[in-house]
């Protein structure tokens, strides 16, 4: 509300300023129609807004002036000196009041009736005309935020210029890389880059608009709708100050409107039905927005009758969307998700409000088109919650660059599910009647070849290609085979020319770092042109579900073949991602092998000197939350779980033990040891004892746990009841129990003071000593 008032005040001030000259001119020439009109517009605007804000005095004044001026405009009255003076006096008073509102003060006390009476025909003038010009020079309240209005076109132009600047910078960066430059030039360029990045951020923010602009019309819409349907609905709006790209706001306007119409029409019951169901007569529709990372979440929640999943299933069976055996397998969330299928509506009657079952499918495809997701959750009889998740901005898209027949293309990352090698262990590629079919870890997805879609000849053998599993907006999974995958990039995407868009394959164009144009694919268009039937067989895969917490014993690991040929496994949680680098990016520096990944130089494990030759090296990027290291390997074998016991190694080393994985022994790589040895600054390093580790601390679970287990402890989590022989906790954490049996770990190598008895978390020797001491202590 405060913002609306601020807008109102700003608008009035602006009009008053513009009026300043008009007023004087009108005074001199009361018959001037144009002047009269602009003054009339001003009082009219003020009157309109006042009704909304409940400023009765302002309203009475502007209303009176408007009436008098309307008479003049209609020719019922001649603007004499008295009238002009009276109107000017009123405008003055309005100016004073607005200043008071702006400063947040109480309305100045006073009676306006004399001013209003002065408007009456034949009344004596009471205000000196000379005061009219005071408005112009009125001092602004110092505290008011200074704002100006800009046209959207101008902003768009600035935005596009900044985008061009980013591209120009990229080109300059390339030229600088190609030619030998001085350090000073590089430094200046770095600085320029940083400034441009800042500027891009700032200008992106100027395009941001409060989502309030979208929400402000909702109460009215709901009021009209509920009146039409004889329902009572209260709208509760929250989070109007969340900011979103202007363009994005326009894109979600329709889907949001549609969802709200549905909620009022189908969700909320009539007052009589609500009373019968034991609810309040008035239904509540809560709309809220919040930001989460680089996404905006918009929740639309009604306390109506909810969606009946079983009815949806029955309807879907009726219209042939589902097979009976498929239907039986759907879980409640999947049943609800049917609401987004085309041609389904549980409403008994078709109403003029939300139509007939066309709609939610359109809502979903519209939201997905802008890289968003729409989810539904509902309890029968209690209400429905729809959640829209949309990205913050449209113009800068994270994308993956791929190549086919030597030409580069980009694919929006939001559509990519996963990337596999066509000849990987868990992937088989078959051709059935000319159609490609990829089976990836037991899941069948149609496969299309990018080279076929584009009519290009690929020189890469089919089995050496990569498969990108894509989920286009409003469609289902398919695998796209490409020759090679290059890089993740943030691309400034611009619309392509109509002749290019007409192909249906592309979403836009952009410039790569090297200055050459790259086409951005539209994954849905590719599927369409590639002849993939976008059907609904993969319904269950669409729902983003939280996976059940992994059972403690079976740890997910990544099975791979190391460079020396041994079969090894790494805990999956430690692996950030897989990278491929040219062998030249690996150098021996400062006493150990290091690999350059983008701007970062990481220590490289898993390899000794000069094993690489000239080709590409694949490596895992490991992350313990604070540091990263690379781990070179030959090939990924599979994802697996360690179900069998781990036989711990005798002495600490890269391999902490062996276990049977998928029927063959594999060495378990010790993440803790890797980080302890590769992330510098290391202070060089029974019967079942129980050790308690915080179960919500991934570092503890993934790094520390193997060591503690190797030291002969049985590891339990926070929820473990009964005594533990030892508790390990991060420094500063509150724990219950005997502190003498606690090992505190600190993240920094240096102790913070003499009394600090914590152990640096990569001080392996210290840790082992503490573990031993604790064990011996119990032995006594």
């Amino acid at each position: 509300m405060d913002d609306l008032i601020a807008d109102f005040v700003a608008e009035c001030r602006e009009m008053l300023e513009a009026l300043g000259g008009e007023i004087v001119a009108w005074e001199a020439e009361p018959d001037d129609r144009a002047r009269l009109d602009s003054i009339f517009r001003f009082v009219h605007t003020v009157k309109g807004n006042c009704g909304f804000f409940e400023f009765p005095r302002l309203e009475a004044l502007s209303h009176a002036a408007e009436d008098a001026l309307a008479d003049v405009r209609a020719g019922r009255r001649h603007p004499d000196g008295h009238l002009v003076s009276a109107v000017l006096a009123i405008i003055d008073r309005i100016g004073e009041m607005i200043a008071a509102i702006d400063a947040g003060e109480e309305m100045p006390a006073g009676d306006d009736s004399s001013l209003i009476q002065a408007l009456a025909p034949g009344a004596e003038g009471i205000a000196a005309p000379a005061t009219a010009t005071v408005v112009e020079g009125q001092p602004r309240a110092a505290s008011a935020p200074r704002t100006i209005r800009l046209s959207v076109e101008l902003l768009d132009r600035v935005m596009s210029t900044v985008s061009d600047m980013v591209l120009a910078r990229n080109e300059l960066a390339r030229r600088l890389r190609e030619s030998p430059t001085e350090v000073a030039v590089d430094g200046a360029f770095e600085r320029l880059s940083a400034i441009i990045a800042d500027m891009r951020d700032a200008i992106t923010r100027t395009r941001m608009q409060r989502i309030e602009n979208l929400f402000v019309g909702l109460p009215r819409m709901v009021r009209d709708l509920s009146a039409e349907l004889s329902k009572q609905v209260l709208v509760d709006i929250e989070g109007g100050d969340v900011e979103l790209d202007r363009e994005m706001i326009e894109m979600i306007r329709d889907p949001l409107t549609h969802i709200i119409r549905n909620a009022v029409d189908h969700g909320i019951e009539t007052p009589a039905d609500r009373l019968k169901a034991g609810k309040r007569e008035i239904g509540i529709l809560a709309v809220s927005a919040r930001q989460s990372g680089n996404q905006i979440l918009i929740d639309i929640h009604d306390d109506g009758r909810g969606i009946d999943g079983k009815k949806l299933v029955a309807k879907a069976l009726d219209v042939g969307l589902l097979e009976r055996d498929e239907a039986a397998k759907l879980n409640p969330r999947e049943q609800l998700a049917l609401v987004f299928e085309a041609g389904l509506s549980t409403a008994k009657e078709v109403t003029s409000i939300s139509g007939r079952g066309v709609g939610m499918d359109v809502v979903r495809s519209n939201v997905e088109r802008i890289g968003g997701i729409v989810e539904v959750d509902s309890k029968l009889g209690e209400g429905t919650r729809m959640t829209l998740r949309v990205p913050l901005t449209l113009t800068i898209i994270p994308a993956l660059t791929v190549s086919i027949a030597g030409q580069h293309f980009a694919i929006p990352r939001s559509a990519i599910e996963e990337i596999v090698r066509a000849n990987g262990e868990s992937v088989t590629l078959e051709h059935l009647g000319g159609a490609g079919m990829a089976t990836i870890r037991g899941r069948r997805v149609p496969e299309v070849s990018l080279s076929e879609i584009l009519g290009l000849t690929s020189e890469v053998d089919e089995n050496d290609r990569r498969l990108i599993v894509l989920r286009p907006a409003g469609g289902d999974l398919y695998a796209l085979s490409v020759d090679r995958i290059h890089d993740h990039e943030e691309l400034v995407v611009k619309p392509a020319a109509p002749a290019v868009m007409a192909t249906g394959l592309y979403a836009g164009t952009t410039l790569a770092d090297d200055g050459s144009p790259i086409l951005l694919f539209d994954p849905a268009g590719l599927a369409q042109v590639g002849g993939v039937k976008l059907e609904t067989q993969e319904r269950s895969a669409r729902i983003a579900e939280g996976k059940a917490a992994p059972v403690s014993k079976s740890t997910a690991v990544l099975l791979f073949r190391a460079l020396d040929g041994s079969r090894r496994a790494l805990r999956l949680a430690v692996v950030d991602r897989i990278e491929e680098v040219p062998a030249t990016a690996i150098k021996k520096a400062a006493g150990q092998l290091r690999v350059q990944l983008g701007d970062a130089i990481l220590p490289l494990a898993g390899a000794s000197d000069a094993e690489f030759g000239d080709g590409k090296v694949r490596l895992f990027r490991l992350n313990d939350g604070a540091h990263e290291i690379g781990y070179a390997f030959a090939e990924v074998i599979d994802f697996a779980t360690v179900d069998n016991d781990i036989i711990h190694a005798e002495s600490p080393g890269e391999v902490s033990g062996v276990s049977l994985i998928n029927g063959e022994p594999a060495e378990i790589v010790d993440g803790h040891w890797l980080f302890a040895n590769y992330v510098g600054a290391v202070a060089q390093a029974a019967d079942q004892l129980v050790c308690r580790l915080p179960s919500d601390d991934p570092w503890m679970q993934n790094m520390l746990r193997p060591i503690v287990e190797a030291a002969g402890y049985r590891v339990v989590g926070d929820e473990h009841e009964g005594d533990a022989d030892l508790v390990i906790a991060p420094q500063g954490r509150e724990i219950s129990g005997d502190a003498s049996k606690t090992i505190w770990l600190r993240p920094d190598p240096d102790a913070s003071g003499k009394k600090d008895e914590s152990i640096y978390r990569y001080d392996r020797a210290g840790l082992l000593m503490a573990l031993k001491t604790a064990g011996a202590g119990r032995g006594k």
Partner: protein, 146 residues
């Protein structure tokens, strides 16, 4: 009426483009093909960090394909409907002044020429066909559909 005209050669014929529509004349070196696009779209190129959609005028007029064997083509850069295009021509000659308004051609021209013609203008070097940039960009496919 002294409109400035850019005289270019397309398919061996000297024609005029409205000079006001032409931003610059460039030599294209890189050309990234756009698979599946209409045949007259020769590809994409970049000019000062802008993406240009390259139109092969020969193909647009259904006169065959421009010879690109030497790798460098002269092109006129135009902006149309918010997009930048590079029109590949055989040769860019000169800018001349129009001596008359465009007159309708009464003789029958080839199909392609008929579609892009805005009429005939007189210049110092004789009459020239004035070509509609928008029609060149639209190409043959659109004209057939219309």
């Amino acid at each position: 009426m002294n409109e400035l005209l850019l005289v270019v050669t397309i398919g061996g014929e000297r024609v005029a483009l409205p000079a006001a529509a032409v931003e610059s004349v460039v030599e294209l070196d890189t050309l990234i093909p756009v698979p599946r696009a209409a045949p007259h779209v020769a590809g994409l190129s970049a000019l000062r960090s802008r993406v240009l959609t390259v139109i092969d005028c020969m193909r647009s007029l259904e006169l065959g394909t421009s010879d690109r064997s030497d790798g460098i083509r002269e092109a006129a850069v135009v902006e149309f409907d918010g997009h930048h295009y590079a029109l590949i021509v055989d040769l860019v000659e000169d800018v001349v002044e129009a001596m008359s308004d465009a007159q309708p051609m009464r003789a029958v021209m080839g199909d392609g020429w008929e579609r892009v013609s805005l009429g005939m203008v007189d210049t110092e070097t004789g009459p020239l066909l004035l070509v509609d940039v928008a029609a060149l960009i639209a190409g043959a496919a659109d004209a057939k559909a219309a």
